[in-house]
Amino acid sequence: MTENVNPFAYAPAPESRELVSIESSYDLFINGKFVAPKSKKRFVTINPATEEVLSKISLGGKDDLDLAVKAARRAYESVWSKLPGKERGKYLYRIARLMQERAREFAVLETLDNGKPIRETRDTDIPLAIQHFFYHAGWADKLEFAGNGANPRAHGVVGQIIPWNFPLLMLAWKVAPALATGNTVVLKPAETTSLTALLFAQICIDAELPPGVVNIVTGDGSTGASLVAHNGVDKFAFTGSTEVGKAINRSLASSGKPVTLELGGKGANIVFEDAAIDQAVEGIVQGIFFNQGHVCCAGSRLLVQENIHDHLIEKLERRIEKIRVGDPMDKNTDLGAINSKEQLQKIIELTQSGEIEGAKAWQPDCALPSRGFWFRPTIFTNVTGAHRIAREEIFGPVLSVLTFRTPQEAIEKANNTPYGLAAGVWSEKGSRLLWASRELKAGVIWANTYNKFDAASPFGGYKESGWGREGGRHGLLPYLTHSSTPRVKPSKGVRK
């Protein structure tokens, strides 16, 4: 036994790749079948942890979207809208069960395509995606109790665009409520993460879902723009950046079509002096390093009460040194690969701005793989509210630490952002937690916890983090037409 061996080092525990078979290229999923793209264009998708090419994905063009929207319309009119809720629900239950049976395969595929650790896809992404289908299945025949009146109705064809940070989970957040409420769907996955959506298409076939109820058109930003511009779509749902969300909303302004937007965030995580420090440290780590920080609700601004700052940062650094960065397929890995080269560039650029503007960066001394896209967990101290790293969404494993003296100052700093998606608050005093939770302008408040999700829990933002909710009873409402039965008859008055 050599002296340098660390007896506590983790032996590699790789998940098997053999669980999935990835085809060399994929077609679009339209009207219940895989069809070659009319655009004749394809692009490669790679494993961001190795830069290995995984497959070629179809780039859907205008004609492809047209087919998909028409298929969705036909399916809506001829089958889906006529099906009783009870039967619609059974399809969703079937989908949930089929996904459970292939959960491990989904997890491996997601990790290969996205770069996130297998521990997270296996324990979080895939089980939550399945829960979403199971949860919403049960709503399909209970919609009259959902709160939008006695006769809630679907919109028709829903266009949905999802991001790359939780590919299958975001698909589930979009597709499950849309189908449960009786809509049909044209979904565009993110450019870099199409594979689990395409495996989901196979699940739709295996569940014998009527053709056209779900259509999946892969592609890039141009594909998404064509979907937004298509006049055959009745409702839109988008998850992604605030900038793109605003562009979508502007382009739909003339049509007045209903839109749901889940956009960016710059979540504040507030630690009061009376917090349980060790739990808070775990919560901070979960808040910013979960999913490489590719989380719109990440707790990317840590607000620490000044008198515990040094103590907390010391503990936090010690904890971060234990984070295992590397092969996402290794079951021990905590922090995987950055999803794309573009995203890595963005993270690098913003962290450089942090140093230029005078904040102090700290990173653990961990080895990074030689290939693929990687970024060490990073914390910035000496951050002020004016720094870009305190204002802009970095969408990476980078934490900005600010301090406060009074609870009022904490709230003021936390709310000093155009975003309002999520926030955390740590204290052992119940009344203070409830006070802070009330004062924080954000759609999700995690008190003494962070980054928790559930199919029954509504999720969505205040202010420029978007509108509408996903999950829970509230998540159904955007997919149902407004019931605004007049109580008082509109009276224009009788002119003399």
Binding site: P458, K463, W467
Partner: protein, 282 residues
């Protein structure tokens, strides 16, 4: 009208931050008895600066209105109905004069408007109960959702209605705990100012309700684009809706559009749902 004395006519002014200023621009515009050249009044023609002052007042009044208990807000809105009842005659006469309606129609409109305040007043401490939820989480967490006001709401009163269309548009935003900047009907603005006088004596904190009279085309773009306005109720505005929606996108204002309907959904459209998690443990 008695010949024995000259009656004292009212100056119709703006309602900003609990006070009744003229427009800082010094402008006014004439309102005639419908279908005649008989001058009824010359209400203020609000400027962009007046609108900004109104938004600032609404912004500052937010905390006071939001931190009032729902029971308290409910009583204040109910008091508006009480005060209106006492001024019923004045409202009826103004509606008749502006819109040229019969007395019975005008009386019906005033009654409906008063009753509508009562209806929305009652919602203040109930909307959270019909819309909130305790969510059953797959794990040891207590998790609940409740609606909160979005902040400052710009309200476009219905342009073809003197009073009812005004109340229909502003009451839901207030019941949800928002503060409002209201653009009165351009053609029938007089009831809006009389309503401000009611509001001023109803214990509504200054700045919670601000009412501007003037030319819609002048004010609409500034209200739609103001970065400190959090939402709009455009139910009463039938023109320039694309422009309003486009301008409102800059800070993602919530835009409510309900026509002339009355519904708790109209309150909820100007509220955001907040979900709070806490672990359960010993």
């Amino acid at each position: 009208m008695s010949k024995d004395r000259i009656d004292v006519k009212k100056t119709y002014k703006l309602f900003i931050n609990g006070a009744f200023p003229r427009s800082e621009s010094g402008r006014s515009y004439p309102i005639y008895r419908k279908g005649s050249k008989v001058l009824l009044a010359q209400p203020a023609q609000a400027s962009r600066k007046d609108l900004r002052d109104a938004v600032r007042a609404a912004r500052e009044a937010r905390l006071k209105w939001q931190s009032a208990t729902a029971y308290n807000r409910s009583q204040i809105l109910y008091r508006i109905a009480e005060m209106m009842e006492g001024r019923r005659l004045q409202f009826v006469e103004e509606i008749m004069a502006q819109a040229s309606l019969t007395k019975s129609v005008a009386e019906k409109e005033v009654s409906e408007a008063i009753d509508l305040w009562v209806w929305y007043a009652g919602w203040c401490d109930k909307v959270g109960q019909i819309s909130g939820a305790n969510n059953p989480i797959n794990g040891p967490f207590y998790n609940f959702t409740s609606p909160e006001p979005i902040g400052v709401v710009g309200v476009f009163a219905e342009s073809d209605s003197s009073l009812l269309g005004l109340v229909r548009a502003m009451a839901p935003a207030l019941a949800g705990g928002n503060t409002v900047v209201v653009l009165a009907s351009e053609r029938y603005p007089l009831s809006a100012i009389t309503l401000s006088e009611v509001i001023a004596t109803s214990d509504v904190p200054a700045g919670v309700i601000n009412i501007l009279t003037g030319i819609r085309n002048e004010l609409t773009p500034w209200l739609a684009s103001h970065m400190e306005v959090d939402g709009l109720d455009i139910s009463g505005e039938k023109s320039r809706r694309v422009e309003i929606r486009t301008l409102a996108t800059e800070n993602l204002k919530r835009v409510a559009d309900f026509g002339s309907s009355t519904s708790p959904n109209r309150i909820l459209a100007l509220m955001d749902q907040k979900t709070i998690w806490h672990p359960i443990g010993i």
